[in-house]
């Protein structure tokens, strides 16, 4: 492999190529491919059941894919060397931690494994809680524990962070704190973050790029900005409960509530208007409605 | 590589455990334990008679010519054994060869001494420290001393009351040994360390060069005699058994499997018949009655007997394959099913064992069947045959154990 190509590969922090995974006869995805480049925050979005958890487990190295490749920092994700694992920070669903240790004990434990450990970052975050350093993690609330876990990951100073459902069990205050610290850290250190969450409005503040997963392995990967400007919701009124054409190149999804219809599309207003007229649909008041990321997500993937 | 090693380590453990317990379980459920044959020399008909357990608690009672005997006849043919029944039936006193025998005569001239494999010195953990009982107490019963002795580079007595060495006593007895020519340390110490016996004959001790010494405690003082027993016998074990008849002190077994009685006549060794005798697997019983001496020894399959005169001259011999040992369906199936078993206990020894016992060529049937089952499984599941060969090798070596182990600890994809 030439030096140039290798460099290029290394700039892809995560590289998923033709990934297939089955559970017995149940096919989760076939031919899933995407890449995650350095220095950005990526959000993985998708409805329940499309295989997000499976993908996260594969990325984190706890599941071996049926076929295809998943490379993290240039190595197969299920067989990472200790040197590579040192550069990856993982946050597990539920903020898993060694709860039998205290605030100071767990820091002391982890610091010995990571040469670029920065304890100031850890204590900078953790001391905000105002708890004694001998406070046991098992005696903390969900939110407090999440702070400890985040602190440990940030202190590790990893090149890549994979955060699986960081928002689970956290109230708005803790979620906001988490996001603030994370964005600050990523900006300062040019780190890469791969994140999932069920609270989509949080991701809107956080991510640079989005990866939408659909069932079977189809993926839409784009920058958040491009997506939010390119994907639109158009609303109109229509009394005919005729079948409105959808799932084609123009109209991605349709949502009908009473006589109010919403269609979602990547095309500009004019193109959609023309298309509706050509379909012979009687409608009025077609307008472009601004969306949040959550709205766009539902528009892209449907409510059910 | 490491995970393969790990998997095979687990498989080995599973095979080990199964080869201990599965045969044990099988035997408990399917193989009935049968009793031993009782064989005697009848002084009445001058023939061997026996009672053998066959299936379902039934007895086969015959003489050596195959003539069937009913229970009462059998017992009257060996009157010295069943003399109490004879008395009940009003058949005492009785006459044999012109001699009359009543109850007192019979009791005074009966003795049985036995050497079981467990009693052999190297087949059980030895105490190492022994009571030297006062052989001439000033009372009717024997009494335990307050001390125990050991013989290392000297004879040492340890007092139980304070758990310390009694220097005085140790010196006196060591001196007696040295005077008799004993060379320390002792190779073997043999005696009966119990007060449940008619009198005490102390201990027979073999010294470092093989000489046999007889030691007793007489009114607190040592009596140490160097016996004329040859030093080059290669003594393996001595069993002392005090008996009022005072014909012999006990039995002596050599490394080459020869067995002797140590007689009271200046420790003269009387050789006993030992054709086909294996001391490690067979019980040896010497049955003494007023007219004859009978040596009977057996293991699980064969029983041998030799009848002798009171001077230990052989008169007749007999051997028999016991019915109880005959091959049954259950036993055949056992051998076919389990290519080997790991035996952890042996009734012939107090020591634990951990020995692999092969079950003979019949085990290959089970191995073959296990291989076939495994190959069927591989073909049905369309696994790669080339990758299956290590497991196949395991099954070829261990049969059903390997098959179960390999099935329970399947390789991960």
């Amino acid at each position: 492999m030439s030096y140039f190509v290798k460099e290029q590969l290394m700039e892809n922090i995560i590289e998923v190529r033709n990934l297939c995974h089955h559970y017995g006869k149940n096919v989760i995805y076939e031919d899933l491919s995407f890449t995650v480049g350095r220095g950005k925050i990526f959000g993985l979005l998708g409805k329940n059941g499309v295989g997000k958890t499976t993908l996260i487990n594969i990325l984190m190295g706890f599941l071996r894919p049926t076929s295809g490749r998943c490379l993290v920092l240039g190595e197969d994700s299920y067989n990472l060397s200790p040197a590579t694992r040192e550069k990856i920070g993982l946050l597990f669903e539920g903020h898993l931690a060694y709860e039998f240790m205290s605030i100071s004990q767990i820091e002391k434990f982890y610091s010995s494994y990571y040469p670029s450990w920065d304890r100031d970052i850890y204590y900078g975050l953790v001391e905000r809680m105002g708890l004694s350093h001998n406070h046991r993690i098992s005696k903390m609330s969900c939110g407090q524990r999440s702070q400890v876990v985040l602190g440990l990951i940030l202190a590790q100073n990893p090149e890549l962070m994979i955060l699986d459902d960081y928002s689970m069990g956290l109230d708005a205050g803790y979620r906001r704190l988490f996001l603030d610290f994370l964005t600050e850290f990523v900006k300062e250190n040019n780190r890469t973050v791969f994140v999932t969450s069920h609270i989509i409005q949080d991701l809107e503040r956080l991510v640079d790029e989005v990866i939408f997963m659909e069932k079977g392995g189809n993926v839409l990967q784009t920058s958040l900005e491009l997506f939010m400007t390119g994907f639109r919701q158009y609303r109109f009124e229509c009394n005919e409960h005729k079948h409105i054409p959808a799932n084609n190149k123009i109209i991605h999804n349709v949502d009908i509530v009473g006589n109010r219809c919403s269609v979602y599309s990547f095309e500009p207003l004019e193109t959609v208007e023309t298309y509706l007229e050509e379909s012979g649909l009687v409608h009025s008041g077609l307008e472009d409605v601004p969306m949040s990321l959550e709205d766009a997500f539902i528009g892209l993937s449907g409510k059910y | 590589m490491l995970q393969r090693l790990s998997r095979y380590a687990l498989i080995v453990l599973a095979i080990l455990v199964m080869s201990v317990y599965l045969p044990m379980l099988y035997q408990k459920v399917f193989v009935a334990k049968t009793g031993r044959t009782h064989l005697f020399y009848s002084p009445v008909i001058k023939k061997f008679v026996f009672r053998e357990i066959v299936k379902d608690h039934r007895f086969l009672t015959q003489d050596e010519t195959g003539r069937d005997l009913d229970r009462k006849t059998f017992e009257t043919l060996i009157p010295f054994i069943y003399y109490k029944n004879m008395e009940l039936w009003g058949l005492l006193p009785f006459e044999i060869d012109g001699q009359s025998f009543d109850k007192e005569t019979i009791k005074a001239n009966r003795q049985v001494i036995e050497l079981r494999p467990r009693m052999i010195a190297d087949r059980s953990p030895q105490d190492g420290i022994y009571p030297l009982i006062e052989s001439q107490p000033d009372q009717a019963l024997l009494v335990f001393p307050e001390d125990r002795f050991r013989i290392a580079d000297r004879m040492e007595f340890v007092n139980a009351d304070n758990n310390t060495v009694d220097e005085g006593l140790s010196r006196v007895f060591t001196g007696a040994f040295k005077e008799a020519g004993f060379k320390f340390p002792a190779r073997l110490i043999a005696g009966k360390g119990t007060i449940l016996k008619p009198f005490d004959e102390g201990y027979f001790v073999v010294d470092a060069v093989g000489a046999v010494f007889h030691i007793k405690r007489v009114r607190g003082k040592p009596l140490c005699v160097r016996t004329p027993i040859p030093t080059d016998l290669g003594i393996r074990s001595i069993r002392i058994s005090e008996n009022r008849r005072k014909e012999f002190y006990g039995m002596l077994l050599t490394n080459s499997g020869k067995l002797f009685l140590i007689s009271y006549d200046n420790y003269r060794l009387i050789p006993l018949p030992v054709d086909n005798y294996n001391p490690d697997t067979m019980n040896y019983k010497l049955i003494i009655n007023p007219l004859y001496r009978t040596a009977v020894y057996s293991d699980k399959t064969m029983i041998y007997a030799t009848a002798m005169t009171p001077d230990y001259e052989t008169i007749a011999g007999y051997k028999r394959a016991m019915q109880a040992s005959r091959q049954t369906t259950a036993r055949t199936f056992y051998s076919a099913c389990f290519p080997f078993s790991i035996q952890i206990k042996d009734h012939t020894s107090d020591y634990m064992t951990f020995d692999l016992i092969p079950n003979g060529w019949k085990g290959l049937i089970g191995v073959g069947l296990s291989i076939v089952i495994y190959l069927l499984f591989v073909c049905l599941r369309k696994h790669n045959l080339k990758e299956a060969w290590p497991d196949l090798a395991v099954i070829a070596l261990s049969g059903v154990y390997g098959l179960i182990a390999v099935a329970m600890v399947r390789p991960d994809p």
């Binding site: - | 190492g128 420290i129 064992t353």
Partner: protein, 221 residues
């Protein structure tokens, strides 16, 4: 890194280790009192007769204690590692998982072994007060399989707790239980001297066996 591994394992186990050690010591205190009482009730040579000739075990109370300790410490060490998918924390540490697993096992075995050594020491000291050294030696030989059972039960428990799937757990339980039971087949003092070497060698197979559940956890599909 070695120090922090030891430190973390100690965190998990220290309470249970302390409880186990205390139990062992208390039982030995009881054995001492009981044995002393035997000598008050009867003549010393009668007690010696019972112990030396009849093979009465005056220390039988400790028979299953190391076994229970092994199970307790195995659970104390590995249940916190595996419950609620927490084993991922272990697998993500930047150390080869087999090396880490081996170091955990060594630490756990050492913890059990220390208690076993305390047992041997107390048994020999107490026996030495009341009995001649032949009994001291024989009691140590008799207790040895029970102590080994403690080490093996620790390894078996670790194996069972680390295994992610239930059918296998049950199989490992059967194998471990069957193996450990080999150490309790005879009460005749000194009878295990003939096989202790073979049993130790066979027990060593448990050490590489531990790696399989680690691997299986990591590579589930």
């Amino acid at each position: 890194m070695i120090a922090s591994t030891f430190y973390k394992e100690w965190m998990k186990m220290r309470l249970y280790w302390g409880i186990a050690l205390s139990c062992h010591i208390l039982v030995f205190i009881y054995i001492y009192i009981e044995t002393r009482h035997m000598f008050i009730l009867e003549h010393a040579e009668m007690v010696w007769y019972q112990v030396i000739h009849i093979h009465t075990l005056f220390y039988e109370q400790i028979k299953y204690l190391p076994l229970a300790t092994g199970i307790l410490l195995g659970a104390a060490q590995f249940v916190p590692e595996t419950k609620n998918h927490r084993f991922r924390l272990f697998l993500h540490l930047p150390v080869r998982p087999y090396v880490l697993a081996l170091s955990y096992i060594i630490i756990g075995l050492a913890a059990v072994a220390v208690i076993c050594l305390v047992d041997i020491f107390l048994l020999s000291r107490i026996t030495n007060v009341f009995f001649p050294h032949e009994v001291v030696v024989r009691s140590m030989i008799t207790a040895l399989p029970w102590l080994l059972a403690g080490l093996v039960s620790f390894l078996g428990t670790s194996l069972i707790v680390l295994e992610p799937e239930w059918p296998r757990k049950i199989f490992y339980l059967a194998v471990s239980y069957g193996f450990v039971w080999l150490f309790f087949q005879s009460n005749i003092p000194g009878s295990y001297i003939s096989v202790i070497g073979k049993l130790i060698m066979a027990s060593l197979f448990f050490v590489p066996a531990i790696f399989l559940p680690v691997y299986r956890f990591r590579n589930r599909s």
